[in-house]
Amino acid sequence: MNEKIDALLRQVQRPARYVGGEYNQIVKDKDQVDVRVAFCFPDTYEIGMSNLGLKILYGIMNDMPGVWCERVFAPWGDMADKLRQEHIPLWALESGDPLGDFDVIAVSIGYEMAYTTVLDMLDLGGVPLRAADRPGLKHLVMAGGGCMCNIEPMADFFDLCFLGEGEDVDREVLELYRTAKMEGWDKPRFLRSASSIEGVYVPSLYDVAYNADGTVASVAAKDGAPEKVRKRIVEDFDGCYYPTAPVVPSTEIVHDRVSLEVFRGCIRGCRFCQAGHTNRPVRSRSAETLLRLGKETLENTGYQELNLSSLSTSDYRELGELCDGLLDYCRPRGVSLSLPSLRADNFSMDIMQRVQQVRKSGLTFAPEAGTQRLRDVINKNVTEEDLLNSCRIAFEGGWNNVKLYFMLGLPTETDEDVLGIAELAKKVFWTWKQHAANKSRGVRITVSTSEFIPKPHTPFQWEEQVSREEYLRRVGLLTDALSKAKSITYNWHDAEMSLVEAALARGDRRMGAVIETVWRNGGRLESWSEYFDLDRWLEAFPACGLDIDFYATRERPIGELLPWEHMDCAVSRRHLERERRRAYEGVLTPDCRAGCSGCGAASLLKEGVCRG
């Protein structure tokens, strides 16, 4: 660290997050490396270092001889201001070299609200924002992550995007990049060639035309790019790379523990859930593999906590065996095991009791809707009986803290559904009164609501989002209904961010100008309420000739060409349309194990059969 940077680091909060040097970081000899990658995570160190995707891709890229992948995170406001004042470019943690020195800048985006932060990081690193302003192969900007299923709003800024899982496609593109660099290809040649790799989307190779009403008229591929980009998956998930020696932060991060990914995809077809639709088909690791990976990672990191992660861990077939095996290893070593997002059923409660024998932290359930009718509409296969039964077991077992998550503004929602949330919360309270093991400690029931955001590639991708005013009216209804219940706390997320998130999620390419305008007006780290400012967005839309409601609140007719239809996430439009019809009929669709609904995801597997 030179003096200038040292002086700066003493003036900012938590400087350890800006310096690297952690255990297990990868440092290579620059002279032995021909492709240098800066893995940019558009959020703080504490969030980014908690991301499993980053750990996986960092490991995979650094396993390639001649490739050195380093980490870059978004600085907090105090640090970003100082970097700008002092004209110090944003650097990568391992080498301390500025972002602009890198061959490839790989951005991981899992959340739309990170878009402005991506621009901010490029700018802080001295890299031109727009792909068109980066004529050479140097600092090629590639993006991957959950948002790629509709990355159109960021199309002008990225040279190349990865649809689906990155394990294989990252390697293939880096190998191609190496060839291009060695042989002196120009950028258009490289991009044309990359577009033939399955899972690669080169936005500049697609021309988008619009109708007079602002909807998309056509998306035309050119220069041999595929009409539809098909997402990539890792078929053999059991044998798939898992980072057993990840970087161990020297400063506290959000998820400071081993995160063991038990399976990908989800057998549930919750109709609002994007991850549940875009990560299909389900592929699991065996309990045996997971035990081995878990032990190895604990040994390599020294972590005292292990978490089982997936979209719905209760659905893991070998969960009982896995937990028993892990507990045998963890208990004598003082390592705790944590299980997130369990379903409200007997089996899950049994596991929960086995796992959390000592500490009784809170239990979280996500019924999502207050009435059975609406839960059927969204295909959330949880009954009131399941939920209350789980709560009864929890209260009998000594838990006294339950969190319940709901959405407001779901399709077909009525005031009765809203009030149903209060009824359900009160029933949970009565269950506690009847069954609590120790009533003297009291009970805490927390109800949280957030606004429903229609997302691409889900059966609800055509739906309207209710206005902010309407959301707030429903919040008011619920507040009144819960006002007399002393043991029930009601938290609601403001809908301001949801409005912007909804617009970005279903946006088209023209929105790039809006994102850039918001960033120029100071927008960055906008997933943080400290930094989010709705007015900046409300001003930027009209300034760019666009209407935020056109994107956020408008219901799309079924016949409309959606901006993301050239992104093929393997679940067919036919399936999504059918699911939407069933939603309006209030008909449940069984989970993948109970009966295949023919969503189309099985076509990604060699044998064409999904084993769930």
């Binding site: 680091l9 040097g21 020297s250 500490r359």
Partner: protein, 210 residues
């Protein structure tokens, strides 16, 4: 094995690791090295470790001390090497031994430092040679004034081409005078940049602390 002490250094990029983060980091180092720390009993068991005199973020040290207890017997002479294979950059275990006394016996620290962008060496030397240097600080009951002069045993500042070099011997506990406090006392005459390194620790009678 109880009442053990580890002497370690903390330099380079590790100077930005805060005290709480260092405690967590050390626990993980022991865990990775397969050297089991002794844990307290109860609902929230925590490792029995304590760092004698926490460092200010940004200050380096060649003489940090951590007291700890092990759940099983180990060869203490071999422990530093074992631990060093699992340390993050900038932290090195130097010596492990049975603590000969309490951590509170550590009373004086010898430090070196560099100061830039302020007055010259003679100014600083004269300033800290005053028979009384009064400092106001917030105590439990309002403002209190302390004289730090008796706690500054040596404060020598020499001009060099790379800035003003400092040699200090300061009282480290009861009362505590840190180099950062000395810089703060200088007010507008203070440097715009400074960096200090702890070199050596002593007991009250200036015999080496171990």
């Amino acid at each position: 094995m109880d009442k053990l002490r580890l002497k370690f250094s903390k330099t380079g990029r590790a100077v930005y690791i805060s005290h709480l983060d260092l405690m967590r980091t050390m626990q993980r180092v022991f865990s990775r090295a397969g050297v089991p720390l002794k844990y307290s009993e109860g609902f929230n068991p925590h490792a029995k470790i304590s760092i004698i005199l926490p460092l200010t973020v940004g200050t380096a040290s060649l003489c940090e001390y951590m007291d700890f207890a092990l759940a099983e017997d180990r060869d203490l002479a071999a422990l530093p090497e074992t631990l060093n294979a699992y340390m993050p950059e900038g932290i090195r275990a130097l010596e492990a031994y049975e603590a000969p006394g309490k951590g509170a016996e550590l009373r004086w620290l010898r430090l070196e430092g560099v100061l830039k962008g302020g007055r010259d060496g003679a100014f600083y030397t004269d300033f800290f040679a005053q028979s009384s240097i009064l400092v106001e600080h917030r105590a439990k009951r309002g403002l209190r004034t302390d004289d730090i002069a008796p706690s500054v045993k040596l404060a020598k500042f020499t001009d060099t081409p790379d800035g003003v070099a400092a040699e200090l011997v300061l009282h480290a506990q009861e009362p505590t005078v840190s180099p950062e406090l000395m810089m703060a006392v200088l007010g507008d005459d203070g440097p715009t940049y400074y960096k200090f390194t702890r070199l050596e620790a002593f007991k009250e009678d200036m015999t080496p602390f171990r």
